[in-house]
């Protein structure tokens, strides 16, 4: 599997570490110990879409430029559709 790092070019799978599904830090404000925000964080930390199909994931180029990448990949075929650098936190939908 080759991943086209936007900084380093196409590199082998072995140079990367997978974090998993790209999730956003909940865009919330208020009482962080209150039930609503706790529920929002629990959902963000623990629940996943986990689709069979196109999937947006966070990968880390550990043996290369050490950038965090947003990779769109088909989990049925492992085909990589898009790779972008991500310097902004993912926006919650």
């Amino acid at each position: 599997m080759l991943i086209n790092c936007p900084y380093c070019g196409p590199r082998d799978l072995a140079e990367f570490v997978v974090n998993g599904e790209a999730i956003a830090r909940p865009d919330v404000d208020g009482d962080f110990d209150g039930p609503d925000i706790r529920a929002a964080f629990a959902e963000a930390v623990y629940l996943r879409d986990n689709p069979a199909g196109l999937h947006r994931e966070h990968w880390f180029h550990s043996a290369g430029c050490q950038s965090w990448l947003l990779v769109e990949r088909d989990t049925r075929t492992h085909e990589i559709v898009k790779v972008e650098a991500t310097r902004e936190p993912e926006r919650a939908p």
């Binding site: 974090n19 930390v45 623990y46 986990n50």
Partner: protein, 416 residues
Amino acid sequence: MTFSGFELLKNALNGQTGWTPHWRKAQPKASYDVIIIGGGGHGLATAHYLAKEFGIRNVAVIEKGWIGSGNAGRNTTIIRSNYLLAGNIPFYELGMKLWEGLEQDLNYNAMVSQRGVLNLYHTDGQRDAFARRGNAMRLHGVDAELLDREGVKTMAPYLDFDNARFPVQGGLLQRRGGTARHDGVVWGYARAADKRGVDIVENCEVTGLRQENGKIIGVETTKGFIGAKRVGVSVAGNSSRVASLAGLRLPIECHALQAFVSESLKPVIDCVVTFGAGHFYISQSDKGSLVFGGDLDPYPSYAQRGSLAIFSDVAENAIALMPMLGRLRILRSWGGLVDMSMDGSPIIDKTPIDGLFFNGAWCYGGFKATPAAGFCFAHLIAKGEPHPAAAAYRFDRFASGNVIDEKGVGPSPNLH
């Protein structure tokens, strides 16, 4: 028909013409009391215990392919109850006791072989960690022995004891652990359930979960709508896909787990051995093949095949532990699709939808749990309350901080 020595003799004399199919290829009725989605080991075991223990026989098992074609047909056959945490030990030990009586219960040869599971340790620190786990097991009444180097040499003389990087110092042994023939387990449960009136419907995929006023009323399938009062989802590897039919998101990420078999050999490994300095485990099947595996593939996948990088890693582990394995030819390799959860432990729980129950998140440990998961899921469906041994396997344990994290790596599914 009950299998017995008498039946063998009778059929030897009548040209083997008296054997009957082990289960009916049922067509679905209009409705059932309970539908189990998923005809793997867990789903069929659930149907068997619903019928046998809880008297609920108006049950259908709906399977999209042929029964046992998922992870039940792809695992490395290991059975054991050598866990560390209090949330896990009673459950897996319930399972171990069910394994011990399984072939009598099912009247079926599932080749349950209690040949011993030996976890090797290679450092003083690891020895102490394994002693801790062995003591935790013994506190729950489960057998565990800590062997020293000489003890391991007696059991497994073929290991590389003096390897400079990974010297074998000893091992934690569960003598009652071992292996069972995965296909035999599936077929045995199918036959026993069918005998009690459970319909096993193959080649029937669930495409929708129909609800009315927050309550499940049945399933849409490729063979039409089938009504049900209660529905149990037991489709490890497809849990998120089926749950999404009810609008539910799960604390699960799917990964491929690879396994390998070698060419057949004369008996050489007579127990299950796990490597303490890497992730690798090996045993020998009754056909003579060495059956082994190692780490997960690290990226989410539904492809049921893994990468060469992991294959290479498993081979390195194998040769570090037993250099003789370097001479073997690999006959076959394959991948299964595992539900990795956010703490590495399973879920057997109700869902927010009345009448819809879930059994999944088994990570790579589902096969050994087959009898206990079936029993506890049947208990939950029949009584509406969890079995005490599975009481901690709930969805809400994540938000409430009661995770059962044997490895202690937190909410990273691919690290468990």
